[in-house]
Amino acid sequence: MSTTTTDLDALAAALRAAIGADRVISDRQELRTYECDGLAQYKVIPALVALPADAEQCAAVVRACVAAGTPFVARGSGTGLSGGALPRADGVLVVTSQMRDILEIAPDDERAVVQPGVINLAVTRAATPHGYYYAPDPSSQQICSIGGNVAENSGGAHCLKYGFTTNHVLGVELVTPDGDRVRLGGRAPDAPGYDLLGAFVGSEGTLGIATEVTVRLTRLPESVRTLLAAFETTDEAGAATSAIIAAGVVPAAVEMMDALAIEAAEAAVQCGYPAGAGAVLIVELDGPDPEVAAQFGQVESLCRENGAFEIRIAADDAERALFWKGRKSAFAAVGRISPDYIVQDGVIPRTALSEVLRRIGELSAERGIRVANVFHAGDGNLHPLVLFDAAVEGETVRAEEVSGAILDLCITHGGSITGEHGVGMDKAKYMPRMFTDDDLDTMQLLRCAFDPDGLANPGKVFPTPRLCGEVPGRRKGVHPAQEAGLAEVF
């Protein structure tokens, strides 16, 4: 589909009429502000940006796009790391950051109702005085939005024990890709009908735009205890992690950093991790006092038995925050030790940890590309940081090769190409390595039910353009319907 300047002018006028002139951006310089999300290696200037104030305005924007046959891309804070909110040059970027009201904190229902632009951490801040918090905690929780979390099903360190965003989203109101407003789920569990809410969470903006989100609030734990254990090798730290899980302990978090990640964090935030550590583990337990007291000693022993040469126990919240500061700042911190880097996100079965880390080390040595590892060890969600210098001839390509090889390692070991960052634009090409054509076609059935015209965030998640209405299956060449001018590829 091609959009002409005249078409765009007409669409801009329609959007201004629908939501107000001050909520529509068409100036090229201003549009440039929105040219990428957190994955800055892809840049596309959107044709238009719309900033709806509420759900009805959001629906009006989508209806205008549908009427014009123009694709649209939803974006919250734009912190996504897979290009899921990358704009389309021929499309409208629908920015939900002005829909940022916390509509209700209902501790008696253990629920909060928020608009999609509300910042993740703001929900916890609003719930804490009532004795509750919002458990999913992406590392970007100080800036990422709930709408984005829902779209990407992005988790964080506490997922191991408390589950993922999808386990904490109880209801959404969404604008469907044809501009209808629909409620799925809500305050009570188990709404009758298909679990479209479950299908919507993590669909990366391809099934519509969330305009209101009902989330579960979790009781603040009575007790939290955190330790930092230093090991000489990642193998030892991995073995300690396995031993903790095998002992039947489910920590609130088990996070690992290797020597290079520690070096980066020290350079950035001076977190003072033990000198000479080849790996550190941060293990956090939370829950009722007597349970945490009983299990914390066990965790400490297991770390020592598996080679920890130093264990520090956070004496108070300030010390705990310092332990976490190194971990949470690691992604940004590698900028201190490398001009460029790729944040990879893949998942492996926890038992494959040692083997995969060793192979990553070999890949790194073979290709002359440094890789820092910082990750959620408890659930096998790796975040290799692949370091390179784009100014050096060939390094960018080699870094991308190493990055891709790591994803292949994840798939080979029965894992996933993404644990929390999403597929987006960046990893669509890897989807066929994890799923068959039949698998992907089946997912397309869902997509086409929601979005028969393919206007919602086209080009993301799925590798090959598909046509709604075609018989799923392997296809070569141009589709006959497309050739005959009867259908558009999206």
Binding site: A106, D109, R111, G131, E152, N153, C159, L160, T166, T176, R183, L184, G186, R187, A188, P189, D190, P192, G193, Y194, D195, L196, G198, A199, V201, G202, R219, P221, G248, V250, G287, P288, D289, P290, A293, A294, Q295, V347, P349, T351, H376, D379, G380, N381, G414, G415, S416, T418, G419, G422, V423, M434, F435, D438, D439, T442, M443, L446, A449, F450
Partner: protein, 415 residues
């Protein structure tokens, strides 16, 4: 006997087909054939054949919930999963298992306990299969801590209406690649495809358990106590109310953990519930079971948590007005209650009660669904009640099963 060419063609696809017997019915509708595939490949071949023959198909595991949901509009073939059994993989170190759909849920504990692990799904009807639990999204008391099928299912293998085999999710807990089709088929009553394999996350078996119970005179008190327990720092695995018709109600808190931790928390729970609360290491009678028997009326009532006391009181009062003996049991800690009525209850009175329950559950943010009922009641009431997003659901069904051959009419809105 004349040759049955349909039977021959089904047998050509996979020689595991027989003509149906008198018990081969779904919600009272008789089938013509029953097929019991032994693997996903045979199931796919049978569904391809059924598509070519335009046969309407329903799926059956242990058959414990065959009378749940609306009767299918038409039915030719029952695809029986009881030969599709066994644990494909149990990766103890990764806390996951992959299980074939026809495996009985109550056989899994023996398999997994050796590694000190469990699939934390309650089976409200003994003899049900894994696939049946997923297809009907059954849950029990422990959902409060562990979640439901949708939270524990991390990967799924499906055979579509056209016989195409598809996978979604995988074998790792943290995975956001592609659409979560596992959730889509959870609770879909077999209207979108046949589930042949499920990957689940597992949990460690607790070292110690304690059930702390207290009898209460009225249901409002039960609701109030449930709220008190939720607001405390007990982190219960379950928080149940059991209110049999005509008897006193009981509130039970299930605590799991370390020996020292559970002892201390059980003592705290007894203080919260009141002086006459008791602790035991075994569940009370009827724990994790539906409060009805075969042939009865079975209902599912949901509420926002703050609405649980009101729902408990008003449900009982509405039953009293209809002069019906309503048994209530369920998870006060999550807002899901089950209710049972004798199968011989007057359909008009049941319909009156369902209307009243729908009004109450709607007022507290929830729903009333009639899961099962004798034919005279089914004829009189709308089993599913109002459903949000029905138009989108119809569109999903249309894409997955364009010829409406998978359990047509069994699900919400006549899907």
């Amino acid at each position: 006997m004349p040759a049955d060419r349909t039977l021959d063609r089904l047998r050509a696809a996979a020689d595991v087909v027989r003509t149906a017997g008198e018990h081969d019915t779904v919600a009272g509708v008789p089938a013509r054939y029953v097929a019991a595939p032994r693997d996903t490949g045979q199931a796919a071949a049978l569904l391809r054949a059924a598509a070519a023959l335009d046969l309407a198909v329903a799926f059956r595991g242990g058959g414990t919930k065959q009378d749940w949901g609306s009767p299918p509009r038409r039915l030719d073939l029952i695809l029986d999963t009881t030969a599709l059994t066994g644990v494909v993989e149990h990766a103890a170190g990764d806390l996951i298992t992959v299980v074939r759909a026809g495996t009985r849920l109550d056989e899994l504990p023996a398999t997994l306990a050796g590694a000190g692990q469990q699939l934390a799904l309650d089976a409200p009807l003994p003899g049900g299969t894994v696939g049946g639990a997923v297809a009907t999204n059954t849950s029990g008391p422990r959902r409060m801590l562990y979640g439901t099928v949708r939270d524990l299912l991390i990967g799924v293998t499906l055979v579509r209406a056209d016989g195409v085999v598809a996978h979604a999710g995988g074998k790792v807990v943290k995975n956001v690649a592609g659409y979560d089709l596992g959730k889509l088929v959870t609770g879909a009553y077999g209207t979108l495809g046949l589930i042949t394999e499920c990957a689940f996350r597992l949990h460690p078996l607790p070292a110690t358990v304690a059930y702390v119970s207290r009898a209460v005179d009225d249901l409002a008190e039960a609701g109030r106590l449930a709220g008190t327990v939720r607001a405390a720092q007990l982190v219960p695995t379950a928080l149940e109310v059991d209110a049999p018709a005509g008897g006193p109600a009981t509130v039970t808190v299930l605590l799991e953990g370390t020996p020292a931790g559970v002892t201390a928390r059980a003592a705290a729970a007894r203080r919260l519930l009141g002086a006459d609360a008791t602790a035991a290491d075994q569940p009370p009678d009827g724990w994790a079971r539906c409060p009805w028997r075969d042939g009865d009326v079975g209902l599912k009532l949901t509420a926002a948590l703050s609405g649980v006391p009101r729902l408990l009181s008003e449900a009982r009062a509405a039953a009293d007005r209809q002069n019906l003996p309503l048994a209530l049991r369920g998870s006060a800690g999550v807002g899901v209650l089950y209710a049972g009525l004798p199968g011989a209850s007057d359909p008009e009175r049941v319909a009156g009660l369902v209307d009243a329950l729908r009004a109450t559950t709607a007022a507290v943010g929830g729903h009333t669904v009639v899961l099962t009922a004798p034919a005279p009641v089914r004829d009189r009431v709308d089993l599913w009640g109002p459903v949000h997003g029905l138009e989108l659901m119809r569109r999903v069904k249309q894409r997955f099963d364009p010829d409406a051959r998978l359990a047509p009419g069994r699900f919400v809105g006549g899907i």
